[in-house]
Symmetry: C2
Subunit: 528 residues, 2 copies
């Protein structure tokens, strides 16, 4: 469990007051339902800002949680017991990141990803069920009179809670699997130019468009399968036929952690707000030791290397490949690595359990960011204008990398085809070809040139929902239409019927007239 | 011509330096190509702000112009000669507002509106031609090295100039006829729930959806007809087959003067920025005389009445109807009226040639805004939370009124069916039913609750285009696809062919196997 919170016994509801600022009493009540792992990293920034602005924040978390909430203060935590154990959760996380160094085809990667997501969500359904059917916790939540629910809809429990409590929801996310975010917001997303995961970026080739169309057509089925457990739970709990998509569609504001500085521009709905780069913050000073290490890297500078918090063990073979490649370039390396290392790690490589990624990337001698393409780190790289070598592992990382490579600000190495040679080639390319840095500087400038900072925008819209008890004026009438009506099939059919009827009647009239004329002509001929 | 500028002779190019602030030298060069009439009213605010921020602004206007530019200072004016006279222009304007008090069916109103627009645009084509084929002016414009062209694309000359000069364009508009703004931005606009002019608001009924679908299908033809003259001019001048839509689609940023506080929420593209209400400014003090008149209106307050700058003559019959209705309510009235008045105008009605609309609406005793539903005034009414009685006359006014009535913040009276009774009924309804004011207060609060003020947002995006020499990252790949590709017809056809081929081969295999089995069975039977 998170360091700052001590839970006495699993199975007991603990009402824990971590700390409250005096300001809190002045603000409104915000219920935060976060998602485990890296999802929390960005959302935490918004939560902290809401606390600073005097809102009373309650964090709803299960007793079994890996949430990195130890460094957030100023909120209350409503902790509910769940039927699974810490071991179950650890196993699911372990499973999620398994086999990232094994070879798969793109399509297989997609299916493996979906299978793992289903396993991940299944355990969360259990947790959600434990919460919803806990009358004590739910009663307390009802009594709180929350003004807004802030949640990451990657897992549906938060929106289900918002629905149950009849409190408007603000969603905070990078995106949802199988285009669920687009279908729930009624946002058009033509497969001809909006790339789904894995297939193409910007203008797609014909084969890419074919694959994209196939994926697009399969998405609604995929969603049904992926969220089947939640659909069942929602229908059972709310005692009506309802899907997760239906519940999601009631969301007031969607805060999306992406932007078009590098993603393909595509249609948006008015309640979709882009806050990509929300995690770009001012760099804090480095520790004395680290500062000395990077300052001493000379004109060649240094490389920041991390594969994110999820991957903590790298096979010995790959570890050696990286060390071999690093030995052949003049740059120093700061490497976040938690697995086993060979004895012969050279002095120019500084290995750390955790590294202050943003603070390092902000250092003027940071020449390259070697990363897995997780969105959090990627935005830190963009904000600090550091070109990248990227090795996508799972989830949305491949798509992030494809975009960055297409923008000319990164080179890709494959985790499954990794060799010291191709790694070295990628490193040398990005380090020595000036175009990578130049394009990254431009991309960074465009990305950071905002009318409102992403964090302020996220706060504004959360508070907007509080002030106006939702954002009903941004809800499109499309939600009131079924699929046939939405695609105007009924009106077009009606028009075709009308047109055919008129044509038929006109034809009949013509034939009738022609017949009459014919009879007259015959009579005349006969009379002659 | 505008008061501040004296043009010596028609037919001469006059390079006029009105006034330049010292700041100008520090800023970038902005070429402004405005549109006559009320379109300029809002755009002027942005132009003035750009001047204040130190940009060097050049206004491109024809010698024959009714532009209300007399009150803007700090810009240079590039004035080009045109082949039509002031009288021609006055006649076109007169024609535009003709017959607003005559009875037409909705569909007839649409066609009359289109016919008038074609007449209006035709004269502008002449003006544009005079400019483009004037080597002296065009040479000077080329030599200026503008950073951005700011124009209202309601008339295409500005975007054609931007295209010719290869300068990025920022568009400033309320909308374009026949959905040209949506098609040029590649913005999806499903006719099932996005109302075109005249047909429905929010969730439409089936007949409304049918009519909306018909209009939607006819729009591209309508556009071709409406802008045929410009298409021809553009192709001729640029010496390639190009339409106005093609040129428009190169626009970097589209600043739309609407928002969803009262309009139906619909999809947007990332380069569409909503600045509805940009004209809502702080109220200035009223003249002593006017202040006395409205202050003396007691608890009943007063009504602000204007039908906009375009309608300057109202038939005597209608004028009398208004006076009759006003005599039966306790409120005082401030009326912008430039036509003939009967001798017996009561003291409670103050008639003025021009009135400080926003300053009056901001007065706490302003109880009702009697207006034609022009977007400029409508936003001033919304910002000041004054409920309305609206009498739409032409253009987008009917749609504005439909929305305001649907939101419960206004009552409609018909200009063509006007009687003192229905006018009085509407006035009494809005004055006495508190729901109108309550809903208007809420609507006003939502409308004004922005992360960035519309004017600041417009300035930000104009300067963004200057800083980054466009906004290429917001240009969707849809622009690179033809209609068949965009709608995925090619990929779906390909998939169908593949599926049919596989089915055919599978069937053939089955038949072949069945045949083989059949032969064997027959042999076996024979052997038996």
């Amino acid at each position: 469990m998170a360091g700052g919170i001590r839970i006495a016994t699993l199975g007991f509801v603990v009402w824990l007051y971590v700390s409250t600022t005096e300001k809190a009493a002045l603000g409104e009540k915000v219920l935060v339902v976060p998602v485990e792992g890296s999802h929390w990293l960005s959302m935490k920034l918004l939560v902290q800002e809401l606390i600073v602005r005097g809102h009373e924040v309650v964090l709803l978390v299960p007793t079994v949680s890996s949430l990195l909430i130890k460094d957030a203060v100023g909120y209350r935590a409503e902790i509910y017991p769940v039927s699974y154990t810490t071991e179950d959760l650890v196993n699911v996380f372990k499973h999620l990141k398994e086999g990232v160094f094994h070879k798969h085809y793109k399509i297989a990667t997609a299916f493996i990803g979906i299978k793992r997501l289903i396993d991940f969500t299944s355990i969360q359904v259990k947790g959600c069920e434990s919460l919803l059917y806990n009358p004590e916790v739910m009663g307390r939540l009802r009594g709180e009179g929350f003004d807004v629910v802030l949640t990451d809809p990657f897992l549906p429990c938060g929106s289900l809670v918002a629905e149950t409590l009849s409190v408007p929801a603000v969603y905070f996310l990078r995106g949802l699997p199988c285009g669920l975010d687009e279908s729930a917001t009624q946002c058009p997303s033509p497969p001809s130019y909006v790339p789904r995961s894995f297939f193409g970026v910007y203008t797609m080739t014909f084969p890419e468009r074919v694959m994209n169309t196939v994926v697009y057509m399969m998405e609604s089925v995929g969603c049904r399968i992926m969220y089947a457990h939640f659909d069942e739970l929602a229908s059972r709990y709310l005692e009506k036929d309802i899907t997760y998509k239906d519940i999601l569609s009631h969301g007031a504001i969607w805060l999306f952690r992406y932007d078009f500085a590098f993603l393909s521009p595509k249609p948006l709905m008015p309640n979709m707000v882009l806050i990509g780069g929300i995690n770009c913050v001012e760099a804090a000073p480095l520790s004395e030791d680290l500062q000395g290490f990077v300052d001493g890297s000379g004109d060649d500078g240094f490389i920041v290397f991390t594969l994110g918090s999820t991957v903590d063990t790298m096979p010995a073979e790959q570890t050696q490949m990286f060390l071999d490649a690093f030995s052949k370039i003049p740059q120093r390396v700061v490497w976040r690595h938690t697995g086993i290392l060979p004895d012969s790690v050279p002095e120019k490589v500084k290995v750390m359990n955790w590294l202050p990624q943003n603070d390092l990337l902000a250092h003027p001698k940071a020449k390259l960011f070697l990363s897995h393409g997780g969105s959090h780190g990627m935005y830190e790289g963009i904000c600090n204008a550091v070109p990248m070598v990227m090795m996508p592992l799972f989830g949305d990382q491949q798509q992030n990398v494809d975009y960055m490579v297409a923008r000319g600000v990164a080179a890709e190495v494959s985790a499954i085809d990794l060799t010291p040679e191709n790694l070295l080639e990628a490193l040398n390319k990005v380090l020595n070809q000036t175009s990578y840095k130049e394009k990254m500087v431009k991309l960074s400038a465009v990305h950071q040139d905002r009318a409102v900072k992403p964090l302020d925008l996220a706060v504004f819209w959360t508070e907007f929902v509080i002030r106006h008890k939702g954002a009903d004026h941004l809800r499109p009438a499309a939600h009131n239409l079924n699929l046939i009506q939405y695609h105007s099939l009924d009106t077009v059919c009606f028009l075709v019927v009308i047109l055919m009827t008129i044509s038929f009647l006109a034809l009949k009239c013509c034939l009738f007239c022609a017949g009459k004329c014919g009879v007259r002509m015959t009579k005349k001929t006969k009379q002659q």
